[in-house]
């Protein structure tokens, strides 16, 4: 399918979807329309766009991915067992090919002040609670994929934490795509609203059952109220032939804290846009990212931290391991607005190349318009330290084991920042499997 045909096909789908919105509230119809209009205007990004210079989405456009109706491709609950974290009780919500599955979900009981449900259902029954937030965190000039999601998303999670509400268990959102032959598109849309002083941990987990070519175009908005605390895990372990475009847009109020951990182990072509606006005094944002790539995998992380108000803190720590002919892109933009005095921002991106044919493009971009701030950044692309290799070998560790050990230690540095131990240890096992090494003990453990 050529780009114009693809665009027309999606525009047709938007036109058809609009007819089905006759009974929907006007704000929602307007939101959908604005998504369609933006998509019509922006279309699919090309490598001529600066922000997409290294990431060519032609294969996504050409494949002509289409969404499927709810209920298609049923999943046996037993197939999900391996996706849950051991020793981690959680509220479990399952989405199959972009639709909430009541049958597969075990949300459990919610404490007072907490609402968690399918976004489609919420839009049907409680639209007034969504109206003030949905679409507000996404910038007007968002790229075509974000617009496509706004125009055509079917479902996702709606999470509302009332004032002072605190969740003990994390909410585990599992997005499963099932291989069924057709080039399948799923477009989850999530909305998280954390009112003043509320706290929760969210896990967005993207996985596949079976090997197929599919496309996940996900978008999550997080509204962090005053003194609220949201810890967000995005664990991308899509199938080897999958395309994944993900947006995570957060808005932080006074003393709000937002931590985003993004782990990319899967997927063939992946682009993440992570954006956080520190829009009131004392807000704190942490972003930790790890990508471990092999073969012809391509992962592009575009992060954007907007310090709009004084005394904000941001810490960004991204690391990548690239083998085979893989390619990684990191673009870390930090804006410190004139108002944002006493901002403290740090950004680090380190890339480890294991093969001659792997490539990493890293670009820190700091724009500082305030004068009393502390900002630092560092970006590296390198290979294993030959002196460290020799040191290990001189201590009887054979060369392959020494390489694996150093690589694993490099990557695990990011995982050690994940607060949830069961998530951390499971990811360490996945990381070890991907690097073909035996999982190592924690530094703090005896063995």
């Amino acid at each position: 399918m050529n780009p114009n045909t693809a665009k027309e096909t999606y525009l047709d789908a938007m036109g058809a979807a609009e007819k089905g919105l006759a009974g929907a509230p006007s704000w929602l119809r307007e939101l959908r329309r604005s998504g369609a209009a933006r998509f019509a205007e922006a279309g699919f990004p090309t490598t001529r766009d600066e922000a997409w210079k290294y990431t060519d989405v032609t294969p996504i456009v050409q494949a002509g991915f289409q969404s499927v109706a709810k209920g298609a491709n049923g999943v046996d609950p037993a197939r999900l067992d391996g996706f849950w974290f051991e020793n981690l009780p959680s509220h479990r919500l399952v989405f199959v090919n972009g639709h909430y599955s009541e049958k597969l979900s075990t949300p459990g009981a919610w404490p007072e002040g907490v609402t968690v449900m399918s976004l489609a259902e919420a839009l049907r029954d409680q639209a007034h609670r969504i109206e003030p937030y949905l679409g507000r965190c996404v910038p007007e000039k968002a790229h075509g994929f974000a617009a496509l999601n706004t125009a055509l998303f079917a479902d996702g999670a709606f999470i509302h934490l009332g004032r002072g509400a605190r969740l003990t268990w994390p909410i585990h959102l599992l997005y499963v795509t099932t291989g069924a032959g057709e080039p399948l598109l799923s477009q989850p849309r999530n909305l998280v609203v954390a009112e003043e002083d509320s706290q929760a941990v969210l896990i967005e987990n993207y996985v596949a059952i079976g090997e197929s070519v599919y496309f996940t175009n996900a978008l999550t908005e997080v509204v962090v109220g005053p003194h609220a605390l949201i810890e967000h895990y995005r664990l991308q372990e899509e199938g080897a032939q999958a395309f994944h475009i993900g947006g995570l847009h957060a808005h932080l109020d006074r003393d709000g804290r937002f931590t985003a951990h993004g782990i990319d182990l899967g997927g063939r072509l992946v682009r993440n846009d992570l954006r956080s606006v520190l829009d009131a005094e004392g807000a704190e944002c942490q972003m930790n990212g790890l990508y471990v790539l092999g073969g012809r995998q391509h992962v592009d992380n575009h992060t954007h931290i907007d310090h709009a108000k004084p005394r904000g803190t941001s810490r960004e720590f991204y690391k990548g391991v690239l083998d085979g002919r893989s390619r990684a892109v990191f673009h870390g933009r930090v804006i410190v607005r004139p108002d944002a005095q006493h901002t403290d921002a740090q950004q680090v991106n380190n890339n480890l190349l294991l093969s001659r044919d792997a490539e990493a493009d890293t670009k820190p971009q700091l724009e500082i318009y305030a004068d009393d701030v502390k900002c630092a950044h560092g970006a590296t692309v390198g290979q294993l330290d030959p002196d460290a290799l020799f040191y290990l070998r001189s201590r009887a560790v054979d060369e392959t084991a020494a390489r694996d050990l150093l690589t694993y230690a490099f990557a695990r540095d990011v995982l050690s920042r994940l607060r949830l131990e069961p998530v951390r240890s499971q990811l360490e096992r996945h990381l070890a499997a991907k690097l073909r090494v035996a999982a190592l003990p924690q530094t703090q453990e005896v063995f």
């Binding site: 330290d385 040191y391 201590r395 009887a396 230690a409 530094t443 005896v446």
Partner: protein, 253 residues
């Protein structure tokens, strides 16, 4: 135990060692001294198998085997140990993990079973007393954030745990205060025995106040210019290296 014959080594095409001959027997302690740039560290590194050094001529026989054919890990498994002049930091790999991996790799090559966690820990704790190292450093990443003295102690700890047959200490004494120097000396003296050999590479005579060498060799411009017993070290301390350099310069025609 170790026999070095006419060893020539280049680094980046530049000859550094120009015909070194050295015989080390089990039970002996040899000190290799010499001015800066004479090739002392090159000799230590080439024995341990660093790839950066190119052997252009000569041979090294270690326990009857052609040492230069063995990869570094195999040399370590055959009982060779290099205490580095500048121990490298390895973030994310804990000290104790490295110790255990190293010890078990060596034991495996000797057809010995792995030490279980309890025995291993008992052994390590015992050797830590010797080097007066706080236990906390065991669980930290290898050398990461260690002071210069702690790094050197850590090398000696590894040596004490691995109990090598041939230990080479590359300027382990440089930059150490007297306390740390004594710790290093104690580590070496404990290891000393009829089955083992030790090569001390050092610029200063100071360390030899605590470890008495059987032989002292002076390396000048890539060759051993003079060998003698421990009294040679005192002469070097008194008169410096200049006189040997002159004495050993071949007459030109």
């Amino acid at each position: 135990m170790l026999s070095i014959k006419n060893l020539h080594v280049s680094v980046d095409g530049k000859p550094i060692l120009k015909g070194v001959n050295l015989e080390v027997k089990a039970g002996e302690v040899h000190a290799i001294m010499g001015p800066n740039g004479s090739g002392k560290s090159t000799l230590a590194n080439v024995l341990a198998g660093h790839e950066h050094y190119e052997v252009t001529a000569g041979e090294v026989i270690y326990q009857g085997r052609d040492l230069l054919q063995l990869p570094p890990e195999e040399r370590a498994r055959q009982g060779m140990f290099l205490a580095f002049q500048y121990p490298v930091e390895i973030p994310g790999v804990s000290n104790i993990y490295l110790l255990k991996s190293a010890l078990n790799a060596i034991r495996e090559s000797q057809n010995l079973p792995e030490l279980d966690a309890m025995d291993f820990l008992a052994l390590v704790k015992d050797r830590m007393k010797l080097v007066e190292m706080p236990e906390e450093l065991l669980y930290r990443s290898v050398n990461e954030g260690f002071s210069g003295g702690e790094k050197k102690r850590n090398e000696i700890l590894q040596m004490a745990v691995l109990e090598p047959k041939l230990a080479i200490l590359d300027e382990t004494d440089s930059g150490l205060d007297i306390d740390a120097l004594q710790v290093v000396a104690r580590g070496v003296n404990v290891l000393r025995g009829p089955e083992r050999a030790i090569i001390l590479v050092t610029h200063y005579q100071r360390l030899l106040n605590y470890i008495e060498p059987d032989w002292v060799h002076v390396l000048v411009d890539g060759r051993i210019a003079k060998s003698g017993d421990k009294t040679l070290a005192y002469e070097l301390e008194k008169h410096g290296y200049g006189w040997i350099a002159q004495e050993s310069t071949p007459a030109t025609v």
